[in-house]
């Protein structure tokens, strides 16, 4: 074994220390197998992996920092004067909605990263481990929950600077952000499904945009639905994003919009119940 490496040339293996058979043997012999981790432990471990990836490639936080800031600035100053008299007035209404819009849009990157990862060999290793099957995907979503939190904090900070003063105080704001993250976690299962279903990263992006644009724009995020035509109101009032935006806006405003919260959580539950199993089926078949 120790004769395997004699550093002589510039070959690939030459700069490597030799493999040590004795310590290798010791490791293999001492290898006691601990009980397998439970579903939560496995999921948290995969969440840790997602956090490590953020640590190594911090540029990927661009979409949860610069993109949301751009949206707040753009829509507040573009529509503020026309819709509410002044940007400062408008941001009181807009900010919770634009927060919902940004975070819901960011969820699509879950699908993209699943799609990019699945082609790599490491997925085979994960899939051949005796662990709770969904934990790999739940891990992504936990990592993404962190990203959603970062996006929320960034946007709220920018909003406060621009004059956003929520009546709900810290409690209301935190409750609103929590509801948003719970919903986004559930909504992400749609994208994990597409991430597994579609062949390329680009097609995942394309499909995501097709769904996300109408879903976020045809809501009550920018304006109240009263002035819209009846058929559009029908869609807007039943759009899950409208329920969520209303609930978050209400919570941050200091009220307790029980019906809208219930609707949001109901949609979240429905999304998980429908898309969770479909995703897992695809994952197992991949």
């Amino acid at each position: 074994m120790s004769t395997a490496t004699q550093p002589t040339g510039a070959t690939d293996g030459a700069d490597l220390a030799p493999v040590r058979a004795d310590s290798l043997a010791a490791i293999l012999v001492s290898g006691e197998r601990p009980p397998r981790p439970n579903a939560l432990q496995a999921s948290l471990t995969f969440g840790w992996r997602a956090v490590l990836k953020i640590k190594h490639v911090p540029e990927q936080l661009f979409d949860v920092t610069a993109f949301p800031i751009m949206l707040v600035l753009m829509y507040t100053y573009l529509f503020g004067g026309a819709l509410a008299g002044s940007p400062r007035e408008y941001i009181q209404y807009l900010l919770p909605g634009i927060l919902v819009m940004s975070v819901v849009m960011i969820t699509m990157y879950t699908g993209v990263s699943v799609n990019v990862d699945i082609a790599k060999g490491v997925f085979d290793r994960f899939r051949s481990l005796p662990i709770w099957r969904p934990s790999t995907l739940v891990g992504y979503l936990l990592g993404d929950a962190l990203r959603y939190t970062i996006a929320s904090v960034v946007m709220l900070t920018v909003g406060m600077v621009m004059g956003f003063r929520p009546d709900g105080g810290v409690q209301g704001v935190v409750a609103g952000v929590l509801l948003l993250i719970v919903f986004s976690f559930a909504f992400s299962w749609v994208w994990t499904m597409f991430g597994l279903l579609l062949r390329t990263e680009k097609s995942v992006m394309g499909v995501s945009m097709m769904i996300l644009f109408p879903l976020t724009f045809l809501s009550d995020i920018f304006v109240r639905p009263e002035t819209m035509p009846g058929w559009l109101q029908a869609f807007v009032n039943n759009n899950p994003v409208t329920h969520l935006a209303s609930a978050v806006r209400g919570l941050m405003d200091g009220s307790w919009p029980a019906a809208q919260i219930a609707w949001s959580l109901g949609w979240a539950g429905l999304l998980i119940v429908v898309f969770g199993p479909v995703t897992m089926r695809l994952y197992n078949r991949k």
């Binding site: 395997a4 690939d12 293996g13 040590r20 310590s23 085979d124 078949r285």
Partner: protein, 346 residues
């Protein structure tokens, strides 16, 4: 701890398949494969690209669902008892099965955590493995910055982290330089010495020759030959006598004498002074072949034919492969003689 402890009470084969089939569209990637692999050995699946080796391994590792037939790993059905199989196997895929964005340490800690080790134990084990594999210096670097040989090492380190009973190595040395290749072979030997069963796929004949105790030659989704190295080699003849004469004019005489003495067909090589004859065809008895060959040489000497060079060799696995598949387009094995094809059909 011995391998019998690890594998519990199971005393049967590590892998047993019957009529395993996997189709992709119209292609039967795996077309009725029967394997029986004893525990504690290295078993080689040898075949060219697209022969169905990887597909077979992926089914055995519970990554692909078979379309037909059955497969058991340590007695567990790969479909119905997939979790029990996963608890005992480990896979090193054709491409690095580690997360390239993470460092060496992080990769191993991640897998240690996923196999249930506590946090501290995970870091300890990662450090031990990195040390044993000579990767301590690279521990804090992202795997994407590793060289090919280092990637293979971290990959195998990840695979043996939980001391699997069965390790799948899918073309472990493809793309490596000769030195790194040798190092991987040394690792495989060390792992097997500790009682782990290894299923190795390779398209390199010398790799199977070096590592595997038994070999299945796979082509177009089927096992076309199976046995020990000796059996496979014997099936195409005990060996070949290569003779080079000093004088090209004496070749017809030499050909006649050799045919008589060896009782075998003699092949005239493109080189005007060279002849090749197969000896002991169909018999694994190498000693008899050597005896016949020495008698033949004596005959040549008696006839006054000067022999410049002489060799008697067991057929290489290259020759075995060619003889079995009847094709000469195998990438790693340039054809050595025109007689092989005829023998395959004989």
């Amino acid at each position: 701890m011995t391998s019998s402890n690890r594998t519990g009470r199971w005393t049967g084969p590590a892998i047993e398949t019957a009529g395993l089939v996997k189709t992709f569209g119209d292609t039967r990637a795996v077309d009725g494969v029967d394997l029986r692999i004893e525990a504690g050995t290295v078993y080689g699946l040898l075949g060219p690209n697209g022969a169905g080796k990887t597909t077979t391994v992926r089914m055995l590792a519970t990554l692909l669902r078979p379309d037909g037939g059955e497969a058991h790993v340590f007695g567990h059905d790969v479909v119905r008892e997939a979790d029990a199989v996963r608890a005992r196997v480990s896979l090193t895929g054709q491409y690095a099965s580690v997360d390239e964005d993470l460092t060496g340490t992080e990769n191993l800690v991640l897998l240690a955590r996923l196999t249930g080790h506590a946090k501290k134990a995970s870091y300890d084990r990662a450090a031990q493995l990195l040390d044993a594999f000579g990767l301590t210096e690279a521990a804090g670097r992202q795997v994407k910055n590793y060289s090919g040989g280092m990637r293979r090492r971290i990959d195998i380190a990840a695979s043996i982290l939980n001391t699997p009973d069965l390790l799948f190595l899918d073309e472990p040395t493809t793309g490596l330089d000769p030195r790194s290749r040798n190092q991987v072979w040394e690792i495989v030997r060390a792992v097997v010495a500790q009682g782990t069963t290894v299923l190795l796929t390779t398209q390199y004949l010398d790799e199977a020759d070096q590592l595997a105790a038994r070999i299945a030659v796979v082509d177009k989704g089927r096992v076309i030959a199976e046995g020990t190295k000796g059996e496979l080699k014997a099936s195409v003849g005990a060996g070949a006598v290569h003779v080079r004469l000093r004088d090209a004019d004496r070749r017809p005489d030499a050909e006649r004498l050799l045919r008589q003495a060896l009782g075998a067909d003699v092949q005239l090589e493109p080189d005007p002074v060279a002849l090749t004859a197969r000896v002991g065809n169909g018999s694994p008895d190498g000693a008899a072949a050597a005896e016949k060959a020495s008698r033949a040489l004596a005959e040549l000497a008696r006839a006054g034919i000067t022999v410049d060079d002489f060799s008697l060799g067991q057929p290489s696995l290259d020759e075995v492969f060619l003889a079995l598949t009847g094709t000469s387009d195998h990438p790693q094995s340039p054809p050595r003689g025109g007689t092989l094809k005829e023998e395959a059909t004989a």
